[in-house]
Symmetry: C2
Subunit: 158 residues, 2 copies
């Protein structure tokens, strides 16, 4: 029913899960549902063998993917002319946190997101899409709620 | 130098990055450095084609991988007998947040981490390893700092 969105029948719980096995050094094999195993590792500078992206790169990848889902979902709600987009995320860490050598946050000190949208929509509709995406995106709000300074720069090509 | 750990020469910045392209529906192709492209999608229940794990599953995967790196790193610092371990993470989301149908957090309402360690070490050394891992792990502290209730249950096999 189209009306279903307006009716609140209580929490709609879903559980997202991942299970891993340490395979030595800095390397972990991680499984998600029926998908192929993902290998996470660290570059040699951090003591690893660089057999895969590192875990915090995957957090940035998840931010890209999650924002992307929300752009697609909300564009559909708004009947927004979405031709396509590219998205990137850069997070800055101070290694002293994880190394335990200074009392600083071990996670992001800053995150920059950049979205390059292809659309014929006017600026106010783009701004409305952006605002709703940032309000409802799970990964974006996880980082924001951790009080990490996060920016989201949107630009438009015709 | 072994002494380097004790000297604080200021921030040790590293940037972790990921770039993606929306490929239609709920699907995004994400690139991290030179590694093969990762496909993120959503299951049909959320409007996707299930071509890959969803972004918040990747956040749970990153929590597994990041905790794993920290266990390995700190076990080495402690000269801890680390024979192996398995690790899992489950995060609970209320879909009303991302759907915009109720004013609830769009990200995790609860995260449960489970670590099954293989070691000959006594309980107090395991507790010391656990405490230091939870203090310094980037992904764990990102979730904790977002005020998500997070637990980390450790058990030991000989």
């Amino acid at each position: 029913m189209a009306e279903a969105r307006a009716v609140d029948d209580g929490p709609q719980w879903v559980t997202t899960s991942a299970a891993g096995t340490w395979t030595g050094g800095m390397q972990t094999e991680v499984r998600m549902r029926h998908f192929p195993t993902v290998v996470m590792d660290e570059p040699p500078a951090l003591g690893g063998a660089d057999a895969g992206p590192n875990p915090m790169e995957y957090v940035m990848a998840a931010l890209d993917g999650c924002t992307s889902v929300m752009i697609s979902l909300i564009a559909k709600e708004m009947n927004f002319d979405l031709k396509g987009f590219d998205i990137s995320a850069d997070g800055r860490l101070d290694l002293r946190g994880l190394m335990g050598t200074a009392p600083v946050s071990p996670h992001f000190h800053e995150v920059r997101q950049v979205v390059r949208l292809r659309t014929s929509e006017p600026p106010e509709r783009v701004a409305a899409l952006r605002e709703e995406v940032l309000r409802r995106c799970p990964a974006y709000n996880l980082i924001k709620d951790a009080r990490v300074p996060i920016t989201s720069e949107w630009s438009v090509e015709g």
